[in-house]
């Protein structure tokens, strides 16, 4: 309600009591006044909430103030700044202008559409804010993870339609499955607009029921209930720099179709060459610090690709070592390597947790040669012994052996014979050391080299 400047406040007889009280209150302490003209006007309804496509009937009633005769003539409506067509409004009586709107569109801003009743000279007499929208959709795709088995962060999506045109409030709730009351999550927007973080007071080894409630002016909706045990969703993390409530640096938050957000991968990934070997690279990393705290083991996965390719090769069964040697690589090529971890065996259980994000790609290049590589598998220290640098290394070794052992007749031929024998047999290729049948040795290894010449 607006009051004319300098005039007393007189209300039209048709106004309800509540509005009278309101008007008096406003008059006494800081009423909004219209300085020009001498009208007092009221729009009904005030701040209505409507469904999209519905219709609205509104009235703008002017009252007398001072000596002027109020009239509804010359008044006009605007909605969001645009003047409404004259055929939509009609003069209902001498002091009231009516309006009929049909098939309303969703509100242009969350603070409501501005429906304003103007005097003939354009000045604002009264206004009302319309809230036109849809009730909220069921939130979907709730995913949760725990970084330290004490907290829980959950993320969801607002439902297929997304735009309700009204401000929608989301509340994440959780409770123990078999008893207890509902709890409400308090820390919102930790990893994006639809997320919440529960920092403490969570039990382990017992399932929780988790759901999200969405509310707006037109109604509410509740998501499906997700049941999980905190230990099932533990994520491998470095445990550093991510205190509860702080935002970790994450990728993929804003794309609705991205995979669940994950946290820090294993720290300090180093990739280096293996001496002069041209088809191998050695990868080292550190285990997550939380490992010792929570009695879990981490299993790792490595993936690597050539610099100008998009296809990743994955090495899966790295178990719980913190290093791996990649073999069968192309010489003289730059490779990008990434590592990620997954906790399992938490408190002795056999279940795995959630894979962390891949570490930042670390690049390294293999030494130059003309050899071709093939498969990707973690090889124990050794590898294919048939390339030039390996022969060189062997030569050096044999030279050393000759000097320091008592086998004066060792030669490369022995080595080739041994290789041939190895290919025939199905032993693993672990043995580099050519245990030649030294005349002074035990003699126990005589069977290794058939037809040897000493």
């Amino acid at each position: 309600m607006l009051r004319a400047a300098g005039g007393g406040l007189r209300l039209g007889a048709a106004l309800p009591t509540a509005r009278t009280m309101l008007a008096l209150a406003l008059l006494a302490f800081g009423a909004l006044r219209a300085g020009s003209g001498s009208y007092l006007a009221v729009i009904a309804p005030q701040d209505p909430t409507l469904l999209i496509g519905s219709s609205l009937h509104a009235t703008c009633s002017v009252s007398v103030s001072g000596g002027d005769t109020p009239t509804a003539e010359g008044l006009y409506w605007t909605l969001n700044g645009r003047r409404l067509a004259p055929e939509l409004s009609q003069v209902l009586n001498a002091t009231t202008l009516g309006l009929a709107l049909a098939n309303l569109n969703g509100s242009k801003q969350q603070s409501g559409d501005n429906l304003v009743c103007h005097a003939r000279d354009g000045s604002i007499l009264a206004g009302s804010c319309l809230y036109v929208g849809l009730p909220p959709e069921k939130p979907v795709n709730i995913s949760c993870w725990s970084k330290n088995m004490k907290d829980l962060t959950c993320r969801w999506f607002p439902g297929t339609q997304g735009e309700t045109f009204l401000h929608t409030n989301y509340t994440l709730k959780y409770k123990l499955r078999w008893y207890g009351q509902d709890n409400t999550c308090q820390e919102y927007h930790t990893v994006g607009p639809y997320s919440c973080h529960i920092p403490k007071d969570l039990a382990l080894f017992t399932p929780y029921e988790i759901w999200v409630e969405a509310t707006n002016r037109l109604g509410s909706a509740r998501s499906e209930v997700v049941t999980l045990d905190i230990l099932d969703v533990v994520q491998c993390s470095t445990g550093q720099g991510v205190a509860s409530g702080k935002r970790p640096s994450l990728k993929g938050i804003n794309s609705p179709n991205s995979s669940p957000v994950t946290t820090d991968p294993p720290p300090d990934v180093h990739v280096s060459r293996v001496g002069g070997l041209e088809d191998q690279l050695s990868v080292h990393w550190n285990s997550p610090p939380a490992l010792k705290d929570f009695l879990f083991q981490a299993k790792y996965q490595i993936r690597y690709r050539v610099e100008d390719s998009v296809e990743w090769k994955v090495v899966d069964d790295v178990s719980n070592q913190t290093s791996c040697r990649l073999a069968g690589l192309k010489p003289g090529t730059v490779y990008f390597v990434q590592v990620r971890c997954n906790p399992f065996g938490i408190y002795g259980s056999k279940k795995a947790g959630i894979w962390s994000e891949w570490s930042h790609p670390t690049a390294a290049s293999t030494p130059r040669s003309e050899r071709q590589g093939s498969s990707g598998a973690c090889e124990p220290r050794g590898g294919e012994p048939s390339s030039m640098p390996v022969r060189r290394e062997l030569k050096q070794f044999l030279g050393w052996l000759k000097k320091h052992s008592y086998c004066p007749n060792l030669s490369f031929r022995l080595y080739d014979q041994w290789r041939a024998w190895m290919q025939k047999s199905h032993k693993t290729r672990n043995q580099h050391r050519t245990r030649g049948s030294c005349p002074r040795a035990d003699g126990a290894r005589r069977e290794v080299l058939p037809g040897d010449k000493l």
Partner: protein, 234 residues
């Protein structure tokens, strides 16, 4: 300890208002500028009240004048940012509704001869009273906008900064008044119990009036202090 601006580790940035810039540019810059400024302003506020150090009238007037000048650069930005968030017709370019006023906020406009003839004490009293009311109204508008536009962190931070500046200016004016021997009035609650029950549209209008009057009163404060400066500062 220093009384004048620009010395010591606290440096106020000169921020120029370019009328041709897009509205969308301004609020962000404003926000970035206002962050380091607010602690600066608080230290200015405290400077005149350090115990045992007599403040000269000239220094006090200069400091207050410079502060008002600095505030003046940002006041129209606040109005524009505010209007942006309320939707049309408020957000329409060139929106102006002088017919809207609040009875709890005295307008800055005053007949020129009357204003020129004001005594020093009365002049400072009027400005002090106005900014006291403005600080309270800005709090009210902040609360309203936190409800109506909860996502508008730019607007909310500008409103908070404006309120702090109003209080800072009040403090500086109080120091000038002290030196001149004018008694500082007690803080009056200008809002009373009015705010509750206002409709959304009324709240939007109310915020517009408050930010507009904040701009007008800052302009007036600059003029008032210029008069005092001409009179007392050599």
């Amino acid at each position: 300890m220093t009384n004048s601006l620009g010395q010591g580790s606290c440096r106020l940035k000169k921020w120029r208002l370019d009328p041709h810039r897009e509205i969308s540019d301004l609020p962000l810059t404003f926000f970035l500028v206002s962050q380091p400024v607010v602690p600066c302003l608080l230290s200015l506020l405290q400077a005149p009240f350090v115990l045992g150090a007599p403040v000269s009238l000239a220094d006090s007037i200069n400091q207050t004048y410079n502060l008002a000048l600095y505030m003046q650069k940002n006041t129209s930005v606040l109005v524009q940012t505010y209007l942006q968030y309320q939707g049309s017709p408020f957000s329409d370019p060139g929106f102006s509704a002088p017919e809207l006023q609040l009875s709890s906020l005295a307008p800055a406009a005053v007949p020129f001869t009357l204003w020129r003839g004001l005594g020093d004490g009365e002049r400072l009293l009027q400005v002090h009273r106005a900014f006291s009311a403005l600080a309270q109204h800005l709090q009210l508008v902040s609360d309203d906008q936190a409800d109506l536009n909860p996502g508008s962190s730019v607007l909310l931070s500008q409103l908070a900064a404006a309120r702090l500046r109003a209080q800072g200016l009040m403090g500086n004016i109080a120091s000038v008044m002290t030196v001149l021997g004018v008694s500082i009035p007690l803080e009056v609650d200008t809002l009373g119990s009015a705010p509750f029950g206002a409709s959304v549209f009324q709240r939007k209008c109310r915020g517009y009036v408050v930010t507009r009057e904040y701009e007008h009163w800052t302009d007036r404060a600059v003029q008032d202090l210029a008069v005092l400066k001409a009179k007392y500062v050599a």
